[in-house]
């Protein structure tokens, strides 16, 4: 268990864990030696979406950085206006939550493992602005501290998973949920499943376009590899997102960004033992 390790062992284990989410497919996954663990058992390939340094060219890097900086600046402004003095503790803890949730590898169809990207989840629970700010904070920490995703391409990673994954996932989730009935669990389940799967596929598609535009990987290879793998990753993402949101819907529906309008909302006692 992580908490039982000495700092040195913990550090190595932690490092290993983060290396599992580089943008790649491995014939032999690292779960056995480094995953937080046990959620996926045995040696399996792991697939994720973080681009390393050196894979994108200057124009793609420049455009995605400009968009990402604008997104972060706007998100900071909106979140500060909405949450005021709760911004720092709440966003910090929620970013730590997404970070911890992304460390959990889960089995996906086809014998591989994936980890949650969490864009639709963050959007559904925190809203598009706070969700994308939290995702951006996660990518900054992952890139700067754990070399999980490059520094020069951080703008692209934030663009793909913070903007497309979170904003796209949130608006799709909201549109489907509203059209099927905002207060029904079934509509939330359908909306979160579709939102999560489509957001992952869209992020993978844009990532493939970025790689091809940069001249790193031919478009056909990039599209078939990225979309082929992320069809499965998206299913895993959808299943975990649905399970997570259903749990929160039943336990603390008031924590949704757009909570269901119910006559009797069950507000449970604090769950934390601390």
């Amino acid at each position: 268990m992580l908490s039982q390790h000495s700092p040195a062992v913990f550090q190595e284990e932690f490092q290993m864990t983060f290396a599992t989410s580089c943008f790649s497919v491995l014939p032999f996954g690292m779960n056995g030696i480094g995953g937080i663990g046990g959620v996926s058992i045995g040696w399996r390939p792991i697939v994720a979406l973080h681009i390393p340094d050196g894979f994108l060219n200057l124009p793609v890097i420049g455009v995605t950085w400009v968009i990402s900086i604008a997104l972060i600046a706007l998100a900071l402004q909106r979140v500060q206006a909405e949450y005021q003095d709760r911004t720092v503790p709440l966003m910090g803890v929620c970013a730590a939550f997404i970070f911890a949730a992304q460390m959990i590898n889960f089995p996906i169809p086809g014998g591989t493992s994936g980890h949650l990207l969490g864009g639709t989840l963050a959007g559904a629970l925190l809203g598009p602005w706070a969700g994308s700010l939290v995702m951006a904070a996660v990518f900054i920490v992952q890139g700067v501290l754990f070399q999980d995703g490059g520094i020069t391409v951080m703008g692209a990673n934030i663009f793909n998973m913070g903007l497309i994954g979170t904003f796209g996932g949130y608006y799709l989730f909201t549109a489907i949920r509203r059209s099927l009935g905002r207060n029904k669990l079934q509509s939330m389940v359908v909306a979160s499943a579709v939102g999560a799967w489509v957001s992952v596929m869209a992020a993978a598609f844009v990532c493939a376009i970025q790689l091809a535009t940069s001249g790193t990987v031919p478009l056909g290879v990039a599209l078939s590899a990225m979309l082929g793998w992320h069809v499965l990753i998206g299913i895993g993402e959808a299943l975990i997102t649905v399970a997570t949101l259903t749990f929160i819907w039943r336990s603390r529906p008031d924590l949704f960004f757009h909570p269901p309008r119910r006559s009797a909302v069950s507000v449970a006692q604090p769950y934390s033992v601390r």
């Binding site: 937080i36 046990g38 050196g54 966003m91 889960f106 501290l145 490059g150 299943l239 399970a243 259903t246």
Partner: protein, 262 residues
């Protein structure tokens, strides 16, 4: 310092008495960023440029008394993941065909791109691992603040860093509980239990955020993150930043000149 708590000790070699570790954290971060930018943005096939950069990086590594096996272990794990995707860069049209089997064709152009992207990714990983080995996380956050990252964002990053270990420990406790109840036996159950655990973790995190907010208010927090005074750069730090910039430009210049001669 910005943070007194250190959940993760990534900086194994931050206290060595060498020149690199004596530089201000923002100087180290800025020099690393400039070099990573120069490496990553060098056009494909500029081997001489990467050779010069590699020699410079090797020189800094050798004089900084870092623990090499930790660096190598981190690099091996990280690069193995980057390595597989690199294969996608190999099979492409263009240049002289060196090998063909069905639809798979290896050409000189494909090899050039594979080698270039591999070198860029490798050198960038070496530099970034070197930075985190020699600079503590609080110092890195200080450096981000000194480099004019918005204080609110730095405060969120600091708050996130502070609670990472707590949440990971909390998740581990939930996982132990699920394992002890034999809830992780089938894949279907695994996904359901993981979903429930993540949901539970969010509820606990959100409530923790509220409690942290209350305790911050009780200690006089007014909504404006207070950053500790960031030490100003010294002449030596400015000199090193300029030197790094010149070194990056020199590599690009020599590569460009070499390309012109070819």
């Amino acid at each position: 310092m910005l943070l007194q708590i250190g959940p993760f000790t990534l900086d194994v070699d931050s206290n060595r008495p060498t020149f690199w570790q004596s530089l201000m954290p923002q100087t180290r971060l800025l020099c690393t960023l400039m070099m990573v930018m120069a490496i990553a943005l060098t056009p494909n096939g500029e081997w001489l440029t990467w050779g010069i950069y590699g020699a410079g990086i090797l020189g800094v590594l050798l004089t900084s008394q870092i623990t090499y096996w930790v660096l190598l272990k981190r690099l091996a794990v990280e690069f193995s993941f980057v390595g597989v995707v690199l294969l996608g860069t190999l099979f492409r049209e263009g240049g002289i065909t060196l090998w063909q089997w069905g639809i798979f064709t290896i050409t000189t152009h494909g090899l050039t791109i594979l080698g270039s992207v591999s070198l860029k990714a490798f050198l960038s990983l070496v530099l970034l691992n070197f930075l985190t080995l020699t600079t503590s996380v609080p110092a890195l956050l200080h450096a981000l603040a000194a480099l004019k990252m918005p204080p609110l964002l730095v405060a969120i990053l600091a708050s996130m860093y502070r609670y990472l270990a707590v949440l990971i420990e909390e998740f581990s406790a939930m996982r132990r509980a699920a394992l002890s109840r034999n809830l992780m036996n089938s894949r279907r159950w695994q996904r359901l239990v993981v979903g429930n655990m993540i949901g539970s973790l969010f509820i606990r995190s959100y409530e923790r955020g509220e409690r942290v907010h209350q305790s911050m208010l009780s200690r006089g927090y007014t909504g404006i993150p207070r950053m500790a005074a960031v030490p100003q750069s010294r002449h030596r730090d400015r000199f090193i930043v300029i030197l790094t910039l010149l070194f990056a430009a020199l590599g690009q210049g020599i590569g460009w000149y070499g390309g012109g001669l070819r």
